[in-house]
Symmetry: C2
Subunit: 340 residues, 2 copies
DNA sequence: ACTGGCACTCGACTGTAACGAGTGCCAGTC
DNA sequence: GACTGGCACTCGTTACAGTCGAGTGCCAGT
């Protein structure tokens, strides 16, 4: 695969033109718009090679070339530099995020901001419980045999859950249980809680045993097993930009995929370190999304990562710009979280 | 507007055929599929009258007829009976809603169920705070000058909000404030709280005054002013059924409208009594949604109404079936809430 | 009041032709 | 050997004409 510099320049030019015009690009138009210093015929020869190598393809015999997923991949990896944000964009980010009053607010503002800046579908994962610590556990009696368990995490997340007790429990008992539970669990990482919860049951005074047992089950279920992830979504209307040319005419599979939290989590839930991840076309594992690309990254206060965020759009997207925006927004959100 | 019985029957037949075939219906096809007991020519005369009265129209000169918004309105008001649900549907509803562990769960299951049964976009409003009572208010110290305020409503809703205090407050003070606040507000309807909150500040011991003042501001803001409504959405992929024939080719305006909580609230936030509301085409106030219809109703435990739910689809929808499903789901959700 | 018949309209579909963007290839040039 | 100009070719797009048929409006007849 001997791709000399000029062939790479041709590929870059094709990607850039196609992204901005949305139309297959031909050899003549290419030399006109870019200073390649060679004739269309030469470009055609280069194109033939690029096509053979699988970086570009022709929609039909007598049309221009279009980048393949592989071509975009090469472009992203080797042919593009991350665009610095414009001052206007920086200002927009700051303006948008100040004044958020709670975590919900932060997440909603973030997802809308991201959708607006990238003009694509934005996805933000709430700070993952698995990466949070318990700040406080509250038990609110609903009736004599029912409690509302409210957990407040250090990331600002608040989760509630109804607990059905095996027998009636007095208000004093609830107070005792609350104190016990908080003594043991406050400050603990959620992923470390199972043994602590276990100990809780064993150390409980006999009269509180049954209640504590039930409670511990619910605790484990809520906090650990049922990996309670939350997701916010915005900008689905942006899918209709490019008037059905992207996504080969049907938004259906995309919209279906966007309704599945599991899918979104796999896409933006950060797996690797804090690097920005770009999934192009069928690089992602979902058939429904083989016409889409995803740019995502992790965010969190300081250097730690508590959740992921990203955008989803057509494979034909402005990768450098999108990557820059996603990164910048993630950084700002991290700073915001660090303040709380 | 003398519409005799046969003309009404013709209109009904047109609506039913058009809804099921999605194609303009002609006089000949009509007499074939329905036992009208008259010839196509007669039907044509009736159609001419119906068209003159604005109940149907021709997409183009030599095509069949299509109902207008006005035609659907007449159909809904006078020509249709609510379809009873099939046993399969009843079973689906029950199966879907048992096992919900908290309010979030109930709402999410409901909205997905509704989307699945009606095969349209479903919207469910969380129980409105304005119609809830305070069950408990919790104050969790984050730092010496910061509190997390958590409000638990009797409807199961839990709202949190960060409070920035004017000066440092001791743990004991927080306990005092918590007790005071709960004594005053527990059990109160949220809409009745403003005077209570006011009294709270006035009656507070002097050393707690500043903290209490800030807190009261936040309380009022959170609970009353910033009418904190929440909405869940599902089934947007259903918009793509009928392959762009509905919604005159572009989903854009619909998707945009669905992103605006305010819009959705106006659509399904119940205004009138507990009756089912049907908004057809441009009967709703949003230009973006003039190609859509909305069927909505209120729900709540027992006879009280705490929120709204409904579905949105093309004006060409199965109104009797949709209305029946929306009502049934609302009733089941109400029962579920009553149990808690 | 209803019906059969008939002329008419007009979108959908088909086939043909002209057009042009874009290609691959080849012979020629530096 | 690498690049270029030229040329034949492909094939989608557009325009136009013609046919078909579903559906209508109207009118005379029962």
């Amino acid at each position: 695969m001997g791709l000399d510099d000029r062939k790479l320049a041709v590929l870059r030019a094709i990607v850039e033109d196609y992204v901005s015009t949305q139309e297959p690009v031909g050899s003549k138009a290419l030399v006109e718009r870019h200073q390649l210093g060679v004739s269309p015929a030469t470009v055609r020869n280069d194109m033939a090679v690029l096509e053979e190598e699988g970086y570009i393809r022709q929609p039909h015999t007598s049309a221009g070339r279009v980048p393949t997923d592989r071509g975009y991949r090469l472009f992203v990896d080797r042919l593009s530099r991350v665009k610095p944000l414009s001052p206007a964009e920086r200002r927009a980010i700051e303006r948008f995020l100040v004044g958020a009053v709670d975590l919900d607010d932060v997440v909603h503002r973030t997802v809308r901001l991201l959708a607006q800046l990238t003009r694509q579908v934005a996805v933000v994962q709430y700070p993952s419980l698995a990466r949070s610590s318990v700040r406080h556990l509250e038990l609110v009696p609903i009736s004599t045999t029912r409690l509302m368990l409210v957990m407040i995490a250090d990331t600002g997340r608040v989760e509630q859950r109804l607990v059905e007790l095996p027998g009636p429990v007095s208000a004093d008992d609830v107070t005792d249980v609350r104190r016990l539970v908080n003594e043991k669990l406050a400050g603990a990482r959620l992923s470390d809680t199972p043994p602590l919860v276990q100990a809780l049951v064993e150390e409980a005074p006999p009269e509180l045993r049954p209640a504590m047992t039930t409670l511990s089950t619910v605790l484990l279920e809520t906090l650990v097993e049922r990996h309670e992830e939350r997701i916010a979504l915005a900008g689905t209307a942006n899918l209709t930009r490019g008037g059905l040319l992207d996504f080969q005419g049907s938004l259906r599979p995309i919209l279906e995929a966007l309704e599945e939290e599991v899918v979104l989590l796999k896409l933006i839930g950060e797996t690797e370190p804090s690097t920005t991840r770009v999934l192009i076309g069928d690089e992602n594992e979902f058939d429904n999304l083989r016409a889409a690309s995803v740019v995502s990254t992790g965010y969190g206060p300081g250097a730690t990562i508590v959740g992921g965020l990203g955008v989803l759009g057509p494979t034909r997207m402005d990768y450098p710009g999108t990557i820059a925006t996603v990164r910048a927004v993630a950084r700002y959100v991290g700073e915001l979280l660090a303040q709380n």
